[in-house]
Amino acid sequence: MIPDDWVQALIGGVLIGGSAVFLLLMNGRIAGISGITTRALVSGGREIWAVLFLAGLLLGGALYEYVLAAEPTPARGVGPWVMVAGGLLVGIGSRLGHGCTSGHGVCGLGRFSGRSLVAVLVFMGTAFVTVYVMNHTGLMGGG
């Protein structure tokens, strides 16, 4: 659909950044997915906006996948234990560190937050090392 890989990546990035600016302008909230998910789950229904944001996230994903995408997006094809272990680490880590790729990356860097810059450098670093171990040492069952 969109000719070049990087153009598509840039457009997607601008949409994500645009969403974050829009949410701050309208609702006064930071578009951090781990924070929003926590709010949606622990607020006992008091933070309806968070639930609706997540509903929108699925809607937007479906709009891409079933209307715009030239071909189906592949999910990760590894054993479920990798997904469960990795998913747990993502949940624990993003809650402990108060943010993930969106909260610290997209929003924190946009606020010129030093804390977020540190977080981004650390999680990129451990992700690089993890993928290295996975892809190039044969541990964790390979790619």
Partner: protein, 147 residues
């Protein structure tokens, strides 16, 4: 309620962006994280585009006295880099590298109907809630997120 509608729209834009940018494709993400192998730099453009927009857009928004549909802005007030931040980010990065999913793409990928995305999302939410509960019991916490 108007603020619900705007949150839904923001979420949809976000999900669409994750799709268009291919952040929801774990093979693409892992290719980007494979800096010591056949590195695929495409996703730099995602982060660049997104941060470019927030860096330009946040400042004028925060100059307003209040958001359009709410009484107050809720932005993070923490500034100190502490052990908890670094440990959390380090743990998160390991999970991201293993699965190729960070929270947004992991949840948006539920629409793909693959069992693996359900495993990821269920484990992510479990980790989030367990940590949230432990952190509350231990003490401080609560209030504003970084994200």
């Amino acid at each position: 309620m108007r603020s619900g509608g705007t949150a839904l729209i923001a979420g949809a834009l976000f999900g669409l962006g994750l799709g268009v940018s291919q952040m929801i494709n774990p093979a693409k993400v892992i290719g980007f994280l494979d800096v010591f192998g056949a590195w695929d730099p495409t996703l730099m453009f995602v982060l660049g585009g997104a941060v470019g927009v927030t860096a330009l857009g946040f400042r004028p928004v925060l100059k307003r006295s209040r958001p359009v549909c709410d009484g107050t802005f809720l932005v993070p007030k923490r500034t100190k880099v502490d052990v908890r931040l670094v440990a959390g980010a380090a743990i998160f990065g390991i999970g991201w590298g293993m699965t190729g999913y960070c929270p947004g793409p992991g949840l948006a990928s539920l629409v793909l109907g693959s069992a693996n995305t359900v495993w990821f999302a269920a484990a992510f939410v479990t980790g989030l809630l367990l940590t949230d509960r432990l952190a509350r019991e231990s003490k401080d916490d609560k209030k504003s997120e970084d994200g």
